[in-house]
């Protein structure tokens, strides 16, 4: 068996992508917390702001 060469490490594109993912994930988490999270509409029910059909 050939004598293994030392591992050269992760390529640059992996490192750059990893940093980008961490930055974007952090931004998303911050934005969700600042915005108060998602507001899910009530399941199967009407919300407070329901407007009549064809209402103008």
């Amino acid at each position: 068996m050939a004598d293994p060469l030392p591992y050269p490490g992760a390529p640059r594109w992996v490192k750059v992508s990893g940093i980008a993912v961490v930055v974007v994930a952090t931004l998303v988490i911050v934005l969700i917390h600042v915005g108060g999270g998602h507001h899910m509409p009530p399941a199967g029910g009407h919300g407070d702001h329901a407007v009549p059909e064809n209402g103008h």
Partner: protein, 181 residues
Amino acid sequence: MNMAPSLRKFVLTLHVISSVSLLGAIAGFLALAVAGLTSQNDQMVRAAYLAMELIARFVIVALALASLLTGLIQSVGTPWGLFRHYWVLVKFLLTVFATIILLVKMELISQAARLSAETTLPRADLSAAGIQLLVHAAGGLLVLLVPAVLSIYKPSGMTRYGWRKQYEQPGLSQSILKRHA
């Protein structure tokens, strides 16, 4: 484990078809999400959300699972492996991530369809759900474009595991592995 060339080509064909179709289906879903969110026509809004649920449940989920499964078979049945090359690993992780988000958001998609079927169209609730669906569809499309690009360019770089394996398994195609090291 290496597949026979004919089987390998067949699985690759299925993988390409399911992956590219998935992108197209999500693009269609995105168009419906925009229509549901922006249209002033109640019938259009109802039709958009009902169609979105059908497309998501019977097309997008099926294609996502098919893409994931054929990709897994393709990776373990060829010298590329699943954990040997960064581009394969990144593709796998992104597809798994997108599929999990899709399955989690199926409830929201069904909820939007239920709301759109009510006698009185709850515009505010539908808008809240529609914005989320629009963001997730656009995000999903962007995330799934990355595996498509990676598959074509196959950027170099082996994982530590792949690096070790290429010396442990002399039967592997050294030319392929070194070219992409």
